[in-house]
């Protein structure tokens, strides 16, 4: 292969294969290499960028590994107390109905400490979008059991595996909120392969588009890996996710146009 491409050629617009959206800042991501959070950030920001919504968007960062989302997303952002993002988003959207508002939350944030805020915001049919990154664990605090941790799954606080008898069963928040009349579009996606990323981005785009029509809550779960918390390599964690997480948290739309499309 002799025809190496020069720097000048690379910079030519027609040769650009991929350009980072300006809505992602140049700050170095604080996520572990291989973690799904960064990809989820990027596709969300690409959607906001492509829809020309930067100047109208207000995002809420949670408490969790993505607590610093505001360092990476180049939109106006607020950082919420653990689990309270939907309360912030509710008020923002009520006070500024023409803004695009999203909360970005982990599974501990959304499905444990913030369960009440999540369910009530969904039940009131608040017109914002929830991006729910479910990695079945508390990543930030070092891999403790989350409400979403699978049966038998090991974590630092379920070192012999989650025993549902004493530790409860994994909680399917997405199926739960889909049953509430206030949710309009509820879907479960993943970001572990290029094809999955494309699908997840489409789903986020759909959610943000629907938000403009003020039809109710739009809710996108992203099943993701936590290679650090799961104590696996990134590659192994994605494989483990496909084999173990997806059977319990099956991908696909759960509610479309306000109607359940799947038995929950």
């Amino acid at each position: 292969m002799s025809d190496t491409i020069t720097k000048e050629q690379i910079f030519k617009p027609e040769n650009i294969v991929y350009k980072k959206t300006d809505l992602m800042t140049d700050n170095v991501l604080s996520y572990c290499p291989g973690c799904g959070h960064g990809t989820a950030h990027r596709i969300l920001m690409e959607v906001i960028d492509e829809m020309g919504l930067q100047s109208k968007t207000i995002g809420i960062a949670p408490v969790g590994c993505s607590v610093l989302a505001y360092e990476f997303m180049n939109v106006d952002m607020q950082q919420a107390a653990h689990g309270r993002a939907p309360a912030l988003a509710t008020a923002i959207k009520r006070l500024l109905p023409d803004k695009t508002v999203f909360s970005y939350q982990g599974d501990g944030d959304l499905a444990a400490i913030g369960t009440a805020e999540t369910i009530h915001a969904c039940n009131r049919g608040e017109n914002f979008t929830v991006i729910f990154v479910n990695n079945g664990i508390y990543g930030m605090t070092g891999g403790q059991m989350a409400p979403t941790t699978l049966e038998g799954m090991k974590s630092s606080t379920s070192p012999y595996g989650r025993d549902p008898q004493s530790m409860g069963h994994p909680l399917k928040m997405t199926e739960l909120v889909a049953q509430l009349p206030g949710t309009y579009y509820v879907t479960r996606q993943a970001v572990h392969t290029p094809a999955a990323v494309r699908k997840a981005k489409k789903a986020i785009r759909k959610a943000i588009e629907l938000q403009q029509q003020k039809v109710g809550m739009t809710f996108v779960e992203v099943v993701s890996n936590c290679n650090s918390g799961w104590k696996m390599t990134p590659v192994d964690s994605n494989k483990w996710m496909v084999e173990n997480m997806f059977p319990f948290y099956p991908l696909g739309d759960i509610k479309v146009d306000g109607k359940l499309v799947k038995e929950v």
């Binding site: 100047s55 106006d76 309270r84 912030l88 006070l95 500024l96 805020e117 009530h120």
Partner: protein
């Protein structure tokens, strides 16, 4: 003062003032003895008149975090609650203070601890003036003692909240909230437009426009040195507030031998005690802190130099009295008289205490 005169309950006057002052949003959870605030707002439908949002939250935890979201957008937002609800809000209040967000939180105190009682109390003084939530923060605390002040303190509180980017507590109780008095109502103010908010509060998250960097509302900073600088900045602000925002009232203090220090309901009752005592020839005056934080320490100290005794009257086991003791001159005795559990002291009880502890001794 406004021209329109009405007969109103304290809670209603507070709610009416909120509408008239052009508030943008009320978020609350029902709890006696202040549920009339949200009920009044729901009946009045300010969303049709001024566009103000009124929302019943699922809990005080949600309500205080709704304030965070709204305040972060530069909106005039408030909530009202009572002691158990206040306890639930402490995490959110700490975040509001840390992120320097303006808002009003009205606390109609009831007797505690725990579920306590729905009757009036003043035992949240420590919670609102000393902390309650985590971290080194201060709240501006105003204590109305009449229905008129329940009305007037809304405007003052919003002004202070935005001037200093800090939560303001209106500390009251069921007696002030439920009693009816005449009240002068002000003109209807127009709510700020988004453009005006942008202009006045450039920090507000209203959407990142090309003319500025993105706005971030957060209380987090993982760099300890930078975070210490943030804390130092907060402390400077609190010093500034202590310098500028002390409020108090002195009644018949000029010739007084004895001073009752009391706020809110206790101050109202003590006024009657003062009259009874003066009829008996005991020269009693009242020093009423209006701002509980910043506490009027200088004025109290000066007064303490001139009198023979100070009696703190509180509906608690003795909370404000600690601040009085800290600032009064040592040579003047400071005593405390309090009722607890929702019991309101009678004017004669207080006179008896003055006679027994100061006059006869």
């Amino acid at each position: 003062m406004g021209k329109e005169l009405r007969l109103m309950k304290g809670n209603e006057a507070f709610a009416e003032a909120v509408i008239r002052d052009g508030a943008d949003g009320y978020f609350g959870y029902p709890i006696t003895p202040q549920s009339e605030v949200m009920e009044y707002l729901m009946v009045e439908k300010p969303y049709e008149k001024t566009g103000m949002v009124v929302l019943q939250a699922e809990s005080e935890v949600a309500a205080i975090n709704m304030l965070y979201g709204g305040a972060g957008c530069g909106k005039k937002v408030l909530t009202s609650s009572s002691s158990p609800g206040m306890s639930l809000m402490q995490e959110g209040i700490s975040y509001l203070a840390g992120s320097e967000l303006p808002c009003i939180i009205m606390d109609a105190m009831r007797g505690g601890p725990g579920l306590g009682t729905i009757q009036p109390g003043q035992a949240d003084y420590f919670q609102v003036t000393k902390g309650g939530g985590h971290g080194d923060y201060r709240l501006i605390v105003l204590a109305p003692a009449s229905v008129q002040e329940m009305y007037d303190f809304v405007e003052i509180s919003f002004d202070l909240a935005f001037k200093y980017r800090n939560p303001v507590i209106v500390l009251t109780d069921g007696a002030i909230g439920q009693m009816m008095e005449k009240v002068y109502i002000g003109e209807q103010k127009v709510r700020l437009t988004e453009e005006e908010i942008k202009e006045k509060y450039p920090w507000a998250t209203l959407g990142k426009t090309p003319d500025r960097e993105r706005n971030i509302i957060t209380s987090l900073d993982l760099d300890p040195y930078r975070h210490e600088r943030h804390n130092i900045k907060l402390q400077k602000k609190y010093k500034e507030i202590e310098k500028n925002e002390v409020r108090y009232e002195e009644i018949n203090c000029d010739d007084a031998d004895y001073i009752i220090v009391a706020y809110g309901t206790s101050a109202r009752i003590s006024q009657k005690s003062m009259d009874i005592a003066r009829e008996k020839g005991i020269k009693v005056g009242i020093f009423r802190p209006i701002s509980l934080w910043p506490f009027p320490k200088k004025a109290l100290r000066q007064l303490s130099e001139r009198v023979k005794g100070i009696l703190a009257v509180e509906m608690s086991a003795g909370q404000m009295v600690e601040d009085i003791r800290m600032h009064a001159v040592e040579s003047t005795p400071v005593e405390h008289y309090g009722r607890m559990g929702g019991v309101i002291p009678t004017p004669n009880e207080i006179v008896d205490v003055i006679e027994n502890t100061f006059v006869k001794s």
